[in-house]
């Protein structure tokens, strides 16, 4: 660990939003050639800090020192001029523009006359993508790429700047194991060249693997400062949460022998090629695979969103055919989508409207809603799931990510679904909220419900599933007991190598 003068030093940065003090005298020192983790629960103020450092907003008070000199970062352009590149938590690509343009957005290479130099845009973008080992054309329209590829473009934007400091706010939320490893390699290379890196993630396994020092925030305040001790996950967790939370993966075994759903050779136009599995009552069936392997598409096929082009679905022994989501919901299926913000929540509703959205038919007689029953049920669920009681009065945009996720799951508890498909249910939520979701999974399986769990966090998938189905190119190639798999097995089994002999892997 170097002891050079910090490249950047942030002194007593405070920032308040109406009603919250999001950052309270936060101090961070960033050394050249070091990866600095910024950790904490949802809403503790990480992104707020990052926005301040990137010039997106101004701090209410505090000082920013660059090589010991005070500077003001008045807008993102100034940050860029100081060699700061940021990958924001919110997607900041423009879907209608090409990959090359996105990489140089706000910073397009121009000729002497201020005219955009398209040849250079193309060649430079191609160079950066090649350096990152990303196989995407600079001319591709970014909106047509997969979520993971878009995230990589996002990172390429920062890489292209050749910055002295690079800030990444949850860059791996949409990435698979493989891409994460490649990103880490890239970051290590940059660290080697003396770049200073500020890294935010809720995936603590990653933190252990790559971060040199950490700053932990709680309620906007620093509770552990840089470089004090060795990095140790359980200490980090207790510092973040403020208490010892015990077991990270409180798995219960509730699977029974009864088969509730069977899929035989499902295929869809959107990329499912051959999905077969059986789901038992009380079971958590994990879907493991690399980014873009088609797990989300399998979920969509099961839920009636995408039409089946082949195969058969059998529910409680009877063949079923879902033509739209409503059919699946009526048959007792539920889908907690991958992206709760865009596909899950109604931000114009309070908890009640969100929780009952999938059950309006059952909640009404002759089209008239039973509002009393709705209030009561909402109240009970908020109590049972330990959701913030603010949710009763305020619209859900005021809630933390964890509370939001619980509300989406509560929707399907209320609709009394028997089979829940959870697509990346813990993405972007903090460790405390994750554990709450795991407990919720236990509660559900205990009550005899079955769960299909999709997660790119291999530790989570291994710990919380009873069995794991390996997904490759839209096909389920193998289903095995979770306890028979190790982390490495899962990585290798799902790796994108068609030649790999799977028998060998599981041997």
């Amino acid at each position: 660990m170097t002891t050079a003068t910090p490249l950047w030093e942030f002194v007593d940065i405070s920032k308040a939003y109406p009603g919250v003090l999001a950052n309270d005298k936060v101090r961070i020192k960033l050394l050249p050639g070091s990866i600095h983790g910024l950790l904490g629960e949802n809403g503790c103020g990480k992104s707020t800090m990052i926005k301040t450092l990137s010039g997106v907003q101004q701090p209410d008070s505090g000082q920013i020192l660059h090589n010991g000199q005070p500077v003001t970062i008045s807008d993102p352009q100034v940050a860029r001029d100081h060699g700061i590149a940021t990958v924001f938590q919110e997607f900041s690509i423009v879907p209608t523009l090409s990959v090359g343009e996105n990489i140089f957005l706000g910073n397009m290479p121009r000729s002497r006359f201020g005219v955009i130099d398209w040849a250079k845009v193309h060649s430079e973008a191609a160079r950066v993508l090649a350096e990152m080992d990303v196989d995407v054309s600079p001319d591709a329209i970014t909106g047509t790429l997969s979520v993971g590829e878009q995230q990589l473009v996002e990172i390429a934007k920062a890489v292209a700047m050749d910055a002295r400091m690079i800030i990444l706010d949850e860059p791996t939320a949409a990435l698979g194991e493989d891409e994460i490893e490649r990103l880490h390699q890239l970051l290590r290379n940059m660290r080697g060249r003396g770049t200073s890196i500020l890294y935010v993630s809720h995936r603590l396994d990653e933190v252990e693997r790559i971060v040199d020092e950490v700053t932990i925030l709680r309620g906007g305040k620093v509770v552990r400062a840089s470089g004090e001790t060795e990095i140790n996950v359980s200490e980090i967790v207790s510092a973040m949460v403020g208490e010892d939370i015990g077991e990270h993966y409180p798995k219960e075994q509730n699977a029974t022998a009864e088969v509730v759903m069977e899929a035989h050779g499902l295929a869809t136009a959107s990329g499912v090629t051959d999905a077969s599995f059986a789901l038992h009552r009380g079971e958590v069936l994990g879907l493991g695979g690399v980014l873009g392997s088609g797990r989300t598409e399998i979920a969509r096929a099961l839920f009636g969103t995408d039409e089946l082009s082949a195969g058969q679905l059998i529910l409680n022994g009877k063949p079923v055919r879902f033509r739209r989501e409503m059919d699946a919901i009526r048959a007792g299926l539920a889908l907690v989508p991958e992206n709760r913000k865009y596909d899950g929540l109604f931000f114009n509703f309070r908890a009640s409207g969100n929780i009952t959205a999938a059950s309006l038919g059952g909640l009404s007689r002759l089209g008239v809603l039973n509002l009393k029953a709705e209030e009561q049920a909402t109240h009970d669920l908020i109590r049972d799931l330990e959701i913030s009681t603010q949710a009763e009065e305020k619209t859900v945009n005021f809630l933390s990510g964890g509370n939001q996720q619980k509300i989406v799951i509560a929707r399907w508890l209320f609709s009394d679904s028997d089979i829940l498909i959870l697509d990346e249910p813990t993405q972007g939520i903090d460790i405390g909220a994750k554990i709450a979701v795991y407990k919720l999974i236990n509660k559900l399986t205990r009550a005899g419900k079955s769960i299909i769990l999709i997660s790119s966090d291999h530790d989570e998938l291994l710990a919380m599933s009873d069995r794991i189905a390996i997904v490759q190119h839209g096909a389920i190639t193998r289903t095995v007991e979770a306890s028979d798999l190790t982390h490495d097995d899962l990585v290798r089994a799902s790796a994108d190598t068609t030649e790999t002999n799977l028998e060998e892997v599981f041997a």
Binding site: I329, F346, F347, R350, L363, G367, L371, K394
Partner: protein
């Protein structure tokens, strides 16, 4: 009840009262009983049409077609009454059905053709006016039926009938929006269509339904227009769609969808009509009327947008008391 008269009504209600006070103080005859009942006549057509426009806005759509549809429907009604000898009692329900069908048509193209409602209703705005011109060589048709006028000018217990139509249809609309599955689905579709699909809400059906309602309410407005003028004309209803949208917007409906109170639209319409009435009573030229209406729209939306800032400012001026309320007003449904 609490649900219907929620905090979203406070702003539009306050705006209406303030405007009424200003007009009452500056204009002698404003508070004449005759003038007050006049107001319910003046507001009725645009306010009834605005029910549909508002519901479409709640789903994050927009309806630009209602003005032209009024023209078309008054011509169809006139044709039926004057040249086809269809009796009034048969012609009126037929017009309501035609209105609903035109709405259905627009709704189907919008929802199932995946064409933005701005486009479909812009096309309808232009084409319906053209269709209206195909009747009677494009000439107005007058003196339709003596029994038509009382529908607009009639009174019950001294109160103009349009007042009762307003109470009835706004009561019904408030009930639908707050107490029925359809109402909730309309807000859900406007709030997040992708999420609505994944929760099993038939988004296209809901969108189509709002256009059917809009078409039906436009037909109600067209009947009142015909009754008011005892005639049909391809020129009626020009810019009526903008007035209806203005009423919704002054009432605080968000064009982004998902947010707003249907009763606030009535208050928005009242606010606009009170101002126009006040200006008319003072014989203000139409130039002033236009400028004032433009400013009202801007102010109403501006105040809604800057509520947090204004309340913070008020807080700074009058002490901290009002600071909490800014957040509260955003309360959902």
């Amino acid at each position: 009840m609490k649900r219907i008269f929620d905090t979203q009504l406070i702003g539009p209600f306050a705006a209406m009262v303030i405007v009424a006070l200003i007009v009452a103080l500056t204009t002698e005859r404003f508070l004449n009983p005759g003038n007050l009942s006049n107001l319910s006549l003046q507001v009725s057509i645009v306010a009834l049409i605005a029910i549909g426009s508002t519901m479409v806005i709640f789903t994050a759509g927009i309806d630009l077609s209602s003005g032209s549809m009024v023209a078309l429907l008054t011509m169809i009604l006139a044709q039926m009454l004057k040249f086809m000898g269809i009796p009034l009692m048969l012609a009126l329900p037929m017009i309501l059905i035609v209105g609903g069908l035109l709405g259905l048509f627009i709704g189907l193209i919008t929802a199932y053709g995946r064409i933005p409602s701005f486009i479909t209703t812009l096309a309808a705005l232009i084409a319906f006016r053209g269709l209206a011109l195909t009747f009677n060589n494009g000439s107005p048709i007058f003196s339709l039926d003596p029994a038509l006028e009382p529908i607009f000018y009639g009174k019950l217990a001294g109160i103009p009938l349009p007042f009762f139509y307003l109470v009835f249809f706004y009561g019904l609309a408030a009930f639908v929006m707050n107490f029925t599955k359809l109402g909730r689905e309309i807000y859900a579709v406007g709030g997040n269509p992708a999420a609505a699909v994944l929760t099993g809400i038939n988004v296209r059906k809901v969108q189509t339904t709002t256009f059917v309602i809009a078409g039906f309410m436009t037909a109600v407005g067209a009947i009142l227009m015909s009754a008011r003028l005892n005639s049909g004309s391809p020129n009626y209803g020009q810019t009526l769609e903008l007035q209806a949208i203005a009423a919704a917007v002054v009432g605080g409906a968000s064009l982004a969808g998902g947010r707003g109170n249907i009763l606030a639209t009535l208050m928005g319409a009242m606010t606009i009509v009170i101002v126009q009435n006040g200006l008319n009573l003072n014989a203000a030229p139409s130039s002033v009327q236009n400028i004032v209406l433009g400013l009202i729209i801007l102010l109403a939306v501006g105040i809604d947008m800057w509520r947090a800032e204004i309340s913070a400012l008020m807080g700074r001026i009058f002490g901290r008391s009002s600071s909490g309320s800014a957040q509260k007003v955003k309360k959902g449904v």
